[in-house]
């Protein structure tokens, strides 16, 4: 029995050699038996399946796969474009940001410059005003001096007139005359403007 099983396994392993199988089975089964009906049936079934599937399955499936691959490729391309766009935008904004910092610095600088300028102006204005004030005071002093001098000269004229009147009123003698002049002159020296 075991011998028989061994022969069967051997026959199974030696299927490429029909003679071996036949020898093992005597006049028994032939694994290389060729059934024409089965062959014809296989051909018909296979070709029909191929035709039906080609029309209703393989064509649409191929098209679907192709379409999906195309859309995936498109999506990847779109995504890459979007990424590129985003990268550009980022660079642009970073540039802008850097620009903004520069701008801020410029504004601050300008403000500082303005402030300094304004301060300077205020100082200059104050100095000018002070100078003007002192000029005005000097002018006033000058005017006062002028008016004092004018008054002095007026008074001296008056004195001269009154002196002349006195001379006229008295008949003057030479000595009287001299005494009078001396008298007046002393009065004159008493009224000196520098003693004001």
């Amino acid at each position: 029995m075991i011998h028989c099983a061994y022969r069967c396994v051997l026959a199974g392993l030696c299927l490429g050699l029909p003679s071996a199988a036949i020898a093992a089975g005597g006049a028994g089964p032939d694994p290389l038996l060729f059934d024409v009906d089965l062959a014809i049936c296989t051909a018909i079934v296979f070709l029909l399946t191929l035709l039906i599937l080609r029309k209703f399955a393989w064509g649409p499936i191929s098209a679907g796969l192709e379409k999906r691959e195309q859309s995936i490729a498109d999506n990847i391309a779109t995504a890459e474009n979007a990424a590129e766009e985003a990268r550009k935008l980022t660079a642009h904004y970073e540039e802008k940001l850097a620009g903004a910092a520069d701008e801020v610095r410029a504004i601050l600088d300008e403000a500082r410059r303005d402030a300094e300028h304004t301060g300077q102006q205020i100082v200059e204005k104050a100095q000018a005003k002070a100078a003007e004030e002192s000029q005005r005071l000097l002018r006033e002093v000058e005017q006062a001096k002028q008016s004092a001098l004018r008054e002095i000269s007026d008074r001296s004229a008056d004195l001269a007139i009154s002196l002349a009147g006195k001379i006229v009123a008295k008949e003057l003698k030479t000595e009287d005359h001299a005494a009078m002049i001396r008298n007046d002159l002393s009065k004159f020296s008493e009224a000196k403007p520098s003693d004001n």
Partner: protein, 301 residues
């Protein structure tokens, strides 16, 4: 197991074992379901054979062309229906370019894409491969489903008969010939079989026809081997399973039965898993070699 004749008493007799592997005109079913464990297949051509052919010629030789429907024919049709059902279903889901949804659809699609990207395109070339995809896809899944049906209890593997595998191999041969001739021209294809050699004229007269004959024979042989490889793998696997299970019957009147039966069941289960691998592997090899032969025919050097 009925034992009408002498050798049927021996469960390990080759005829008995092969009976479980080879084609038949009936399905083997449990005795509780079918009379004598056999479900005879309806023979639609029987009246025609009996009343027309045999009436006309009583000596009409029926074999081998006997117009009888066999188990493998039925199972091939079942395989074709399964194939059509699955893939038209898949086509409906993904033909508009949307991704496949569901386990089955994804599984089928990944297999299709595998055949396309790992078998057809490398073997045939990117630009020509897609023309042969319908053939290769049908071939792969037809062989695969026939192989897998062989693992279903009471069914059988249609790829375990030379009639099936030889026809499928001849389909590949036909595709190889037409593809080659369409690409290289009617004469150009046959000329391309002979590799170009710088031979002196006298030597060429003798050598080239011989090389041509060898190449033509080689072309035929490699397609026949395609058929035999698939057949041998399927028959051998099923035969080993049959032998293992027959051990149970053979030891049924012996105390060793208690040890043999569990061991045989365990072994048969393990080998069935191996058969599952073989079913996929052989379908892949058949398709891969078909693609390779097509590729060789349209790119000879």
């Amino acid at each position: 197991m009925s034992s009408e004749t002498g050798h049927h008493d021996d469960p390990l007799h080759p005829e008995h074992l092969f009976g479980h592997v080879q084609d038949a005109h009936h399905f083997e079913l449990p005795h509780a379901v079918a009379n004598e464990g056999k479900l005879h297949i309806w023979q639609p051509f029987e009246p025609f054979v009996d009343e027309v052919l045999l009436q006309a010629d009583p000596d009409y030789h029926l074999a081998p062309f006997d117009l009888r429907v066999s188990k493998f024919m039925v199972l091939e049709v079942v395989a074709a229906i399964v194939l059509i059902f699955f893939f038209i279903g898949l086509a409906r889901k993904i033909s508009d370019g949307t991704p496949a949804r569901g386990k089955l659809a994804n599984m089928l699609e990944s297999m299709l894409v595998f055949i396309r990207d790992e078998v057809a395109r490398p073997a045939i070339g990117r630009e020509d491969a897609d023309r042969f995809l319908p053939f290769l896809w049908t071939m792969f899944f037809f062989v695969l489903i026939c192989n897998l049906i062989g693992l279903v209890p009471w069914a059988g593997s249609a790829t375990g008969a030379l009639g099936t595998t030889f026809t499928l191999a001849m389909m590949t041969f036909g595709v190889v010939l037409t593809a080659g001739m369409r690409k290289m021209g009617l004469i150009g294809f046959w000329k391309s079989l002979v590799p170009h050699m710088d031979l002196p004229f006298v030597l060429a007269i003798f050598l080239l026809p011989m090389i041509f004959l060898i190449e033509v024979a080689g072309l035929l042989i490699k397609h026949v081997v395609l058929a035999v490889r698939l057949l041998a793998n399927m028959v051998a696997g099923h035969l080993v399973l049959a032998v293992l299970l027959a051990f149970i019957l053979a030891s049924s009147h012996h105390i060793a039965f208690l040890g043999v039966a569990p061991a045989a069941v365990a072994g048969a289960s393990a080998l069935t898993l191996l058969e599952l691998l073989v079913a996929f592997l052989q379908a892949y090899i058949f398709t891969f070699l078909s693609a390779l032969f097509i590729g060789t025919a349209i790119h000879p050097h």
